[in-house]
Symmetry: C2
């Protein structure tokens, strides 16, 4: 069976989708990715779809599912490399990929993830510097 490889680059997992997203391939990718996030502790997932001529509703749903799975495992997903024609068709089909962040290419996707991670870290720092007092009364 064909399988989409998941590549680890620093704190990011990179998936380049090139083959047809049939049911089994999509399920296997979701499983592989979830496992790699847990094993590696990566906080970002980049899915490159620059090889895809067509993104139909099944692929759109698969991307959304991957993003949701990653989110509950504390990783953020960015879809990169979408062709202009794909974007036009997606919107014409009424699929605007809600809940999925996008960037033009892998590098911009990495920047986005790094910025987003830095902001999250800042927020955590702020929370810590402002301790919540419980059982005060």
């Amino acid at each position: 069976m064909e399988r989409v490889p998941v590549l680890k680059i620093g704190d990011i997992l990179l998936v380049s989708i090139q083959i047809d997203m049939e049911d089994q391939v999509a399920l296997q990718l979701q499983e592989d990715l979830a496992e790699r996030i847990v094993v590696t502790g990566c906080h970002g997932v980049i899915i490159d779809i620059s090889a895809l001529d067509i993104v139909d509703s099944f692929v759109g749903r698969t991307l959304a599912t991957i993003a949701s799975i990653s989110r509950v495992l504390d990783a953020e997903t960015v879809v990169v490399g979408m062709r202009p024609a794909v974007a036009i068709t997606l919107v014409e089909l009424g699929l605007s990929l809600p809940g999925i962040r996008t960037a033009l290419n892998v590098e911009l996707g990495m920047d986005l993830l790094a910025r987003s991670r830095a902001e999250e870290y800042d927020d955590e720092q702020d929370d810590e510097s402002d301790p919540v007092v419980v059982n005060e009364s």
Copy 2:
């Protein structure tokens, strides 16, 4: 026609081979990669073959050609992600991929390219600090 995407990450071009390397696909990849090296000025190429179950003599030759093209364009090629079974079959077939550097995964491939680049840079620095005197006589 199917096409293998070439992803730019920093100073490196990453190619993840997942589809069958037919003649046209291989030629297109060689062309795309050569163009991207020239346009981006990248000095390293990483080819991930972790999705391949089989590497036959045609794929082996394609990898060697890509490495040679990259070399004349001042970029170094590292093949990463080879499965153990592929390595065994390659050697049994008498194909030991001469002239191709390998690493276990993308991250180690990046390290290898960075180290190799740093050494080259050091050599250049040494050359500069040791000027050649011409027309002395």
